[in-house]
Amino acid sequence: MKKLGYGVILFLYILGAASCEKDDICVEGNTPLMVIEFFDINNPDTPKNVPKLRVVGQGQTVTVNTSADRTDLNKITVPLKTAEDSTGFFLISNSASNEDGFEIGNIDTITFNYARLEEFKSRACGFIITYEDLNGSLQTDTDNWIKDIEIIRSEIINADSTHVKIFH
């Protein structure tokens, strides 16, 4: 009977151990954000703040939730679409509203094109997207505050380093 007792204890122990799972929460990865840094066009190595920068995704009515709104910034992160190979952004310098609520800042439009790669990250995370073959094009208007775009890294696998340099 003693052996049976040990067996029962072992049985309960293994059942208890098996019901503890770390597989339910995704910690292994995430679809990365794109990092944009702003530099001085006359002095390409010097970061330069964009005054009162506002970033709005093309097709959206709200500003991006990853950077501060109407703030002087030289570095922002933006989310790219996971369902399409192209994402457009309105980058507004000196953003402000007039009495009627219309934007009076300088609006420049950049479209980023890329290829999407699906990657299975873990049981809890499932598939995430990483991007490659990134390129950006500026829509020319009468008064572009953005002078040049340079792609530093064409692959976006994390948000640790800068992918795009914008000169102004």
């Binding site: 052996k3 996971t82 369902a83 598939f127």
Partner: protein, 251 residues
């Protein structure tokens, strides 16, 4: 010195015993020989049948069998088929396939006269061939800017990953109790170690028929079964005399 003297006296008494014509047998040995049945036991796993009837996303069947080799050694095998659809947070997939496990069980239970129960430990080698179908999946993305309602759907079309195989070893702990003559009710728990690299390819192996759930970044898995089986006696053999003597000393 005292021990040696006692040994010497005992030796002397034995020697004096030989001097008698016939030894006096005060405890005559029981001459009735107890024969034990040897044969094959076949059955079904009850848990897989019950879960199949309760869970719409699972069908499974497992046949169990063992053959008694010696006093306490059995060859044991399980043959099964499982079909399981699982909904995870961001994807839904199906695993369908068959498996075979072969190994040995060793009985540790010292049965009383007439009993034929088992409390056993054992090992198995398991092999499974199966296919996965990724039914649908979304893209995991913490940022809700472009998809405020939830994760963006990436695919609704079924994608099949066929011809998959997996092998593993298993440690088994279990019991088989004779409920009625030759009808046994059994239960076992299993701890498996997977040999196959589960995280290879576009869609990893997350469930293996027979092995059960494959935990992320771990080679170990757990399983169980509850079997009902029928013992078919083929021949009878004497219980080993040596064993009886050893057990007599223990008690």
């Amino acid at each position: 010195m005292l021990r040696y003297s006692i040994s010497f006296i005992v030796l002397l008494s034995v020697v004096s015993g030989f001097a008698q014509d016939k030894p006096i047998d005060t405890q005559p040995k029981d001459t009735v020989v107890y024969k034990q049945s040897y044969g094959i036991r076949v059955g079904l796993d009850l848990s897989r049948i019950i879960i199949s009837s309760l869970d719409d996303n699972y069908t499974g069947l497992e046949l169990v069998a063992d053959y008694r080799l010696t006093e306490d050694l059995y060859i044991a095998a399980e043959l099964g088929n499982e079909n399981k659809t699982q909904q995870e947070d961001v994807y839904n997939f199906n695993t369908s396939g068959s498996y075979l496990k072969v190994g040995i069980d060793r009985n540790t239970y010292a049965n009383w006269y007439g009993e034929q129960n088992l409390i056993f430990y054992g090992g198995r080698f398991g092999f499974s061939t199966f296919s996965n179908t990724l039914n649908n999946y979304q893209i995991f993305d913490n940022n809700r800017y472009w998809n405020p309602e939830g994760f963006a759907t990436a695919s609704e079309t079924e994608e099949e990953f066929g011809g998959r195989t997996a092998s593993w070893i298993e440690a088994v702990l279990g019991t088989k109790v004779e409920l009625f003559p030759n009808i046994y009710l059994g239960a076992s728990i299993r701890l498996g170690f997977l040999f196959t690299d589960a995280q290879d390819g576009r869609f990893p192996i997350l469930f293996v028929p027979g092995f059960n759930k494959v935990t992320w970044d771990s080679k170990f898995g757990v399983g169980y079964n509850y079997s009902i089986s029928y013992f078919l006696p083929l021949y009878k053999k004497n219980r080993k005399v040596k064993k009886i003597a050893a057990e007599g000393e223990e008690q």
